[in-house]
C-alpha cells in the first residue's frame, strides 16, 4: 500500500517537472507545478502511514490509553495541511503574475520573454 502511494507521488513529481520544463505556455507550466506539488504531498502522507493503524483522532475506536499503538504519525499530516495551503498561495501568485505578463506582451509563450536570458 505504502509503496503504491509513494510510487504514485514520485511519478507525479516527475510528470510535473517534465511538463514544467518542456511546455512553452505559462499556464501549462503553472498546472505542471501544481501536479508536482501534489506529488510531494502524496509522498509525505505515504511516509506517515503505518500498516493496520487508523487516523489520529481519539474516539470510541481509539481510546486514549492505547492511542500510541493505534494511530498513524500525526506530524506528516499536519505538515501536509500546511504545505497544501502554501501551495495554493503560490499557485495564485503565479496566476496573478501570468496575467500581468500577458497584459504586457499579449502572449503567454515563455520563449517570448527573453529579458532575463543570457
Amino acid at each position: 500500500m505504502v509503496q503504491i502511494a509513494m510510487a504514485t507521488g514520485f511519478i507525479l513529481i516527475l510528470m510535473g517537472l517534465y511538463g514544467a520544463l518542456t511546455n512553452h505556455n505559462i499556464l501549462r507550466i503553472i498546472v505542471s507545478f501544481s501536479v508536482a506539488n501534489t506529488g510531494v504531498n502524496i509522498v509525505l502522507v505515504a511516509i506517515g502511514y503505518m500498516h493496520g493503524r487508523t487516523a489520529p483522532i481519539l474516539n470510541e475506536v481509539v481510546p486514549v490509553a492505547q492511542a500510541a499503538a493505534r494511530i498513524i504519525d500525526p506530524v506528516p499530516q499536519a505538515l501536509v495541511l500546511t504545505a497544501i495551503v502554501i501551495g495554493l498561495g503560490i499557485t495564485t501568485l503565479m496566476l496573478a503574475f501570468a496575467y500581468k505578463l500577458y497584459e504586457r506582451k499579449g502572449t503567454l509563450d515563455i520563449s517570448k520573454f527573453s529579458e532575463l536570458k543570457w
Binding site: L21, T22, L58, N59, D73, G89, I90, T92, Y99, K100
Partner: protein, 233 residues
C-alpha cells in the same frame, strides 16, 4: 531537440534517485518520539480529539500564525498586482451570456448549504477531520459558485477586509491572553478543557479555529474576486 534530451536525462537521474529512496525505505512499525509524545499527551494536556488539530493550533500554533501571514501576504500581493488593470477595464465590460436557469437556481439552493457546511467543518475542527483551513476553502467555494453564476457580481472588498482583519486581530489577541492566563503564547487552556469529544472542549481551540476559518475564507474569497475582476478588461 537537444533541450528535450537534456530534460529527459535529468528526469531519468531524478527518477533513479527516487527508486533508490523507495528501495531503502522501510515503513515504521512504531511511532517515533515526536508522534508518541503527541499521541500520549494530547488528551490530558489539550483535550482535543483530533491530534492533527492539536498540533496545528496549539503545539505548533506559532507556525500557523506564520502560515496565515503568508496567505495574507499572497492575498495582498494579488490584490496589488491586479488592481491597476482594474481601473482601465471598467469601461470595457462586455455583455456576458446568461448563465442559465439550472446554474442560477441551483446556486440559490446550494450557496447557503455550502456556507453552513464550511462553518460546521471549522467549528468541529477539534473533533472531526477538518478545521479552519478546510472550512475556509469550503466557504470560498461558495463564493466561487456565486461568481460562476454572475461573473460581474460586485463583492464588497471592504467587508472582506474587515472580516479578515478582525479575525486576524482576535486570533493574535487570544494568543497573547494565553501568555497571561495560561502557559504561554497561544496556550488553549484559557478556557476550560472540558470532556474529550464534546463540542465545548479543548479550551480555546474551537474559537481559534473558527477565527482561522473566517480569515482563510475571506483571504481565498478576496483572491477569487480579484482574479475574476481582471476578466472584464
Amino acid at each position: 531537440m537537444i533541450k528535450r534530451t537534456l530534460v529527459i536525462l535529468f528526469l531519468l537521474g531524478l527518477g533513479s534517485l527516487f527508486i533508490a529512496l523507495m528501495q531503502g525505505y522501510t515503513p515504521d512499525t512504531e511511532l517515533n518520539l515526536t508522534g508518541r509524545y503527541y499521541a500520549e499527551h494530547t488528551a490530558q494536556d489539550i483535550g482535543a480529539a483530533n491530534i492533527v488539530t492539536a498540533i496545528i493550533v496549539t503545539y505548533r500554533g506559532l507556525d500557523t500564525i506564520g502560515e496565515v501571514t503568508v496567505l495574507f501576504l499572497t492575498a495582498a500581493i494579488v490584490g496589488m498586482l491586479l488592481s491597476r488593470g482594474n481601473h482601465k477595464g471598467k469601461s470595457l465590460q462586455r455583455e456576458l451570456p446568461q448563465s442559465g436557469e439550472l446554474l442560477t437556481t441551483g446556486s440559490y439552493l446550494l450557496v447557503p448549504l455550502i456556507l453552513l457546511l464550511g462553518a460546521y467543518v471549522f467549528i468541529n475542527g477539534h473533533l472531526t477531520p477538518g478545521g479552519g483551513f478546510q472550512g475556509g476553502a469550503i466557504i470560498a467555494s461558495a463564493i466561487l459558485l456565486m461568481l460562476l453564476t454572475d461573473p460581474l457580481r460586485h463583492f464588497s472588498h471592504q467587508l472582506i477586509t474587515i472580516i479578515e482583519s478582525v479575525s486576524g486581530l482576535l486570533f493574535v489577541s487570544i494568543g497573547v491572553l494565553g501568555m497571561f492566563y495560561a502557559g504561554g503564547f497561544l496556550d488553549n487552556r484559557i478556557l476550560p478543557v472540558g470532556d474529550l469529544g464534546s463540542l465545548f472542549s479543548a479550551g480555546a481551540i474551537p474559537v481559534i479555529y473558527s477565527l482561522i476559518g473566517l480569515k482563510v475564507g475571506a483571504e481565498f474569497s478576496s483572491m477569487l474576486v480579484n482574479l475574476s475582476e481582471t476578466e472584464d478588461s
